[in-house]
Symmetry: C2
Amino acid sequence: MAWHAPLDEMDFVLHRVLKVQDSDIPGYAELDPGFTAAILGEAGKLAEEVLAPLNAVGDRQGCRLENGQVRVPEGFHAAFDALRDGGWTAIDCDPADGGQGLPYVMHTAVNEPFVSANMALNMYMGLTHGAYSALRLHGSPELKAAYLPKLASCEWTGTMNLTEPQCGTDLGLIRTKAEPAPDESWKVTGTKIFISAGDHDLAENIIHLVLARAPGGGEGTKGLSLFLVPKVIDGARNAVSPGKVEAKMGIHGNATCVMNYDGATGWLVGDLHKGMRAMFTMMNEARLGVAMQGFAVAEAAHQAAVAYAKERLQGHGTRSDGLEPLIVHPDIRRILMDHKAFLQGARALTYWGATLIDRAHRMGDKGADGVVSLLIPVLKGFLTDKGFEVAVSAQQVWGGHGYIEDNGMSQHVRDARIAMIYEGANGVQALDLVGRKLGAEGGKPVMAFFEMVKAEVHAHDDRPEMAEFTAPLKAASKQMQAAAMIFVERGLKDPDDALAGSTDFLHLVGHVCLGLMWVRMARAALEMGGDFGAAKLVIARHYMTRVLPACGLHLARIEAGGRTVMGLKAEAF
Amino acid sequence: MAWHAPLDEMDFVLHRVLKVQDSDIPGYAELDPGFTAAILGEAGKLAEEVLAPLNAVGDRQGCRLENGQVRVPEGFHAAFDALRDGGWTAIDCDPADGGQGLPYVMHTAVNEPFVSANMALNMYMGLTHGAYSALRLHGSPELKAAYLPKLASCEWTGTMNLTEPQCGTDLGLIRTKAEPAPDESWKVTGTKIFISAGDHDLAENIIHLVLARAPGGGEGTKGLSLFLVPKVIDGARNAVSPGKVEAKMGIHGNATCVMNYDGATGWLVGDLHKGMRAMFTMMNEARLGVAMQGFAVAEAAHQAAVAYAKERLQGHGTRSDGLEPLIVHPDIRRILMDHKAFLQGARALTYWGATLIDRAHRMGDKGADGVVSLLIPVLKGFLTDKGFEVAVSAQQVWGGHGYIEDNGMSQHVRDARIAMIYEGANGVQALDLVGRKLGAEGGKPVMAFFEMVKAEVHAHDDRPEMAEFTAPLKAASKQMQAAAMIFVERGLKDPDDALAGSTDFLHLVGHVCLGLMWVRMARAALEMGGDFGAAKLVIARHYMTRVLPACGLHLARIEAGGRTVMGLKAEAF
């Protein structure tokens, strides 16, 4: 695998684009370039040397269920130990729990190379981090004391149990039950499916967070409560077990399990019948993590495509042997430039999103919280849709060799595919954006976003060299505003007419977000100069002239509305 | 698998849109609706009952090499016998060879359900058909007599041997050698890779057509000759053997082999050093076959998505149980309508292409030959790119269940992927379109195509109800003309600048082609009326308002040219 952690790019985003070192967010002052370079350099090294070589191994071997215990692929144990030993599991965890207390943006940056190198392995850590966050926000002091340090260090790992055979998106149909026991514990009974890292032999204990129905909560999602159910209690197995390891298209190295709860002992997390709230307070972080998977796996695929395009020789060339590498061809260049325009924009957007989360959490900034909540479905949906496209076109560069499993390109495509589906399928993200986020707080967050774009456009009014970047962003932003008006106007009259354009709107906003990032990157590149800066300007120009014009097409589709989309009876399908 | 052969749709295209029964092409007169319905009904039945149930089996089991012999999945033998026994292998073969002598359009229509049901199995037959066509056009009378009947019946199967480890697209790098033997046979030595159906146990003999380098031919593609190399000669194994069965992303049921030729006995097909010509005369048919794979696999995926969208229930509904199927959601409808707009247009375009091939072959119509040669890279590239997108979005409808291998959606995606790669990767199709076909015969074919579009637009001038379909086609056609002018003008000055837009041009032309088909289908739907006709008009409207506007985006990208695409040095990637 030719992949290397793109440390220069990560540094550029952190220190030239976002200028984290100059931020007023508490904890950011220490993020000087030397400090972050040291951390990210070590993370990149670990990813390259330890995690990446296991990526294909994990894909080939997958996980297997043996006598009620799931076994992970060879080598995963040592690699997971390396993640624990280096403190990589607890970058942003509370020092009281053994964490390093760094900002969330550093957790995000550190995890990018880990995901690029081995998404399936990284998930064991990522889900544990999610469980840690939920428990930290909603757990009782006793639960927190007992579990947070173990989760922060990944000595024990965590899971999220939402989906059941009869319900995915619609959690109101959950049937898993919880009955109170005399000692303030609960007995949890039911079947959960698609549980990532549901069982494995990487840790002595696994802490399951389970949405279930306790008595008296009524129907639908309002009746749900969240329970903490350990695999092992005081050295004895709890009544929870993996029923099956699913055979999936990709991420074979992560054990996706059917989990059976047979009166398993658990404890309530947060308030009774308020399980949805407890589960969803950490949703922004979880979805930002999936957004990163979208581009991080694509980054690995892109680098492999570049390597192949440089190495693979064919005829008609001007070299002395008459050969030339694939990369001389304009159509190959087009693919690789489209990749760079997306990947670098996606990195900036994701890291920026992480700084907004830091601003919201560390400063209580409600404006930042509103904007990040608005944009999270866009990050999740747009970056995973486009990341998958990058993986597919990177595979295409390899020609027939890309279709052969041994060469690794197929795995990138198969792994990238899941990010469009889990943590809320992308169609649900579009619905969330249009149906909930767009109108939230009377439209305050979306207005704030438009103001941000406007401010960025006008910040460079005195620099004519920025006009080629700001003008297209301004035009795209106007198209987004026109689309937003359509949703406001039609949404009231005929929701289906508006919702027919929800995915197009998600993509339109995604393009505007990347356009905003590319203006910021162009500004930073001009300041920076040199070969690096000059290359950035070419890629910025590529985004503005060849990618951002997609906004017009998305607007046209939104304008077309639901007339044809809803024009057939269900029986006519 | 919920798939059914879409006989109504196939009949609509053949008899309402293309009106094959009224055509002046020799052999078409007998294609009355009753006759074609009888044939296609039987083909559909065989596909549904025999081929489709083996699709998942083939994917799971794959092919394996045992003691120098490749074994295909269980059940493939009986299914292949059923294809032979029904005469399905020789629909359009010469009656002198035991074929039925029907037009190529019937071969095409018959194969659509076979491909939808089981692409991997169908390939054994499809490659044999290719070998039959090459041999029929270029073989000596002796070779033809010895092999054509066996290939027509698929008693023996065929292969195409082009690719080698060091060369895919660039066949000029082929190293496989042929040395003359005293008895007019040749000794072929070399290694070929990615040979579909290279070895298997479905037939007693396999007839390999091999591009190799005979003495005196010089370097590059001009030195290549085509040889027929049987697996078995007079009951004895020839010196050709499978070295490996590749582990691929998909089409596991078809044995993709490394083939080793160790002085294998073969015979020259066609003229010495004219192997490329012999191989490429049948390229239009081969690429049209892959174009069909693009939409036929997508059709199966779409039908599975429709079935799931109708069956899968969730909450918030108005039914008595409070549930409702997924298909009520506008974003699900959007996906399914996009599918229909593509699939039905693709079917019409492919069948129309087949009639153009019939017109060229059966009437010696050079105009038809020019147009089909122009459009073949578009059919191959556009229909396989879009077909893959359909398979991916069909998988998306299934949510998490689409990612589980048991449910079949992953296989559709993995199978569909190869059609973008083999038989000339889609980037090579775009290069063929822009670099060769666009300027062929001084632009005569492309002018003829524009005339066809213009004629279709104006044929309905007196029917105001057609204006909503003809106006967008006219606009898109103008965009295509503008793009074509850019290639003509810039191509001379700076080829790379033009070629940066080649794939966008391929897609632009693809959309214009489907727009043309949708105008023809709208006309037929108006004539037909009823529920079927009414539904068609909705889908036609969907295409015109929500899909065809993509032409503007492709034109914008073409106009942007190669400035950014070629703007970085190779070292900067």
